[in-house]
């Protein structure tokens, strides 16, 4: 896959589906164009990213940061549910779930 590839509307639609954003066609088209330009610019990283260089995912060289297995107070259910768009029986109420669990 070359970095210069042109993204089509359906490429962007697939990405929008993965990201769960319901975009309109004009939006997809505009984004396809913008992403082409941005991708061309950011693909410059490939110029210097040679196989001998180790990737850095984190700026700090920390290891093994853990917490002891100790129970700390939870939120009250009222606080947990305080921001919920809908709730019922002390649970978050959500619209019907169509998909399958992974």
């Amino acid at each position: 896959m070359s970095a210069m590839s042109n993204l089509s509307r359906s490429d962007v639609a697939h990405l929008a589906h993965l990201a769960r954003i319901d975009m309109t066609d004009p939006e997809l088209d505009a984004l396809a164009n913008e992403l082409d330009v941005i991708l061309e610019a950011v693909a410059r990283v490939q110029e210097v990213a040679t196989p001998d260089i180790a990737p850095t995912s984190h700026p700090l060289p920390l290891r093994n940061v853990t917490r002891p297995d100790v129970v700390t107070p939870s939120l009250t259910p009222a606080a947990a549910l305080s921001g919920a768009p809908a709730s019922e029986d002390q649970r978050f109420r959500v619209p019907q779930i169509l998909g399958e669990e992974a």
Partner: protein
Amino acid sequence: MITRAAHEMSAAMASGEISSVELTQAHLDRITSVDAQVHAFLYVDTEGALAQAQSVDDARARGESVGPLAGVPLALKDVMAQQGIPTTAGSKILEGWRPPYDATVVSKLKAAGVVILGKTNMDEFAMGSSTENSAYGPTHNPWDLTRIPGGSGGGSSASLAAFEAPLAIGTDTGGSIRQPAAVTGTVGVKPTYGGVSRYGLIAFSSSLDQAGPCARTVLDTALLHEVIAGHDVHDATSIDAPVPQVVRAAREGSVKGMKIGVVKELNGDGYQAGVRSRFEESLELLAKAGAEIVEVSCPNFEYALAAYYLIAPSECSSNLARFDAMRYGIRVGDEDGASAESVMNLTREVGFGREVKRRIILGTYALSSGYFDAYYGSAQKVRTLIMQDFNKAFTSADVLVSPTCPTTAFKIGEKANDPLAMYLNDIATIPVNMAGIGGMSLPCGLAPEDGLPVGFQVMAPAMQDQRMYSVGAALEASLLSQWGAPLLSQIPALVGAK
């Protein structure tokens, strides 16, 4: 009183010249008077602020010893969770959300007696360099209301320049503290990554985000730095070591014998003439104060922007997945027969702004199978190269310096439709985030061509944050003696100001 420095306000309270309630009320009045024009605040917590001020006054009256910033008002970037206070991160998707918990930074502020006035405007989820991406409208630069106050923390920097608050909290992922400081003539510090807890900071890009102090003077910034810094067991990436002695460094303000490295690649072409001249003059002042100025080269910095615009969107595409209308925030399209998936899709379409969606899609692409190595993987390697450049440069210099931004504040709307041009604003600030080191911006004068503030950036090795304060305080003192008064004394008065 509201134009004074925070440490002067603190002294005035200690001497009984003014109470915290009076000081807080003065700032609330100022906000009422000018914020319609500046739009620095998204929410003003009048009641909470006055209650906190009263409790500090009460503590003082009882003769209790209070911290150096007790009773001083502060503006909090709306990306920090504050219990019971609307917290939106500048996004419509979080409209109305009141967190059931405090960010660690907020807990520390409260414990130190700092008075939180309210929440400041920002680019949505901290994505932007102008605060134009806020779902709640742009913030205006108090130097020129037609111009941007920088971003993403434009609300925090504007509140300082408009004398609505003497202290503010910002967060910096690619320059969101330093660039707004630069274009508003204020001081802002991005501490070493891990120096200040991220717990309660609504994540944009977790490996780059860092909260930090903002103020009008270097010493005030240092005082606030010491209040919010320190190890936090709720943040696994927090550094478990003593906080660097930044207040001491700011008070001493000495650069004698220090080697200051000018980064060759962060100057020159693409930098506005007035930005360059003010920067050069500052170097001379530092040399006069006893520093040795050397030149260093960081050849891989030219790839930093590209790597940043892969890493940050990738992490944000995952961090922002939680905004799905199920547990908090707005919910769109929940009508009879609607599915959870369609509600998620619609809510995210309506709830996120254009720039946020652009970055989520970009990040989703960069992480997808087949493209991961070419994009995200390569960007991580560039990150290694940038760290190596810094390590090498710090063998020949104690700190590195550059202009904070290539230009002074641009006009609102000028770059709104050109994402790449907008991204270029962060070219000098991004390397610091990529390497996780500390960076400061302080004002070094006005560009002759437009009369707008120019920022001077100081970068220090990880966990050596005090060095930025030494340099910043020394330069600030030299400039002050040259100017005779703080730079902000030259800011045009806002209409309606008392």
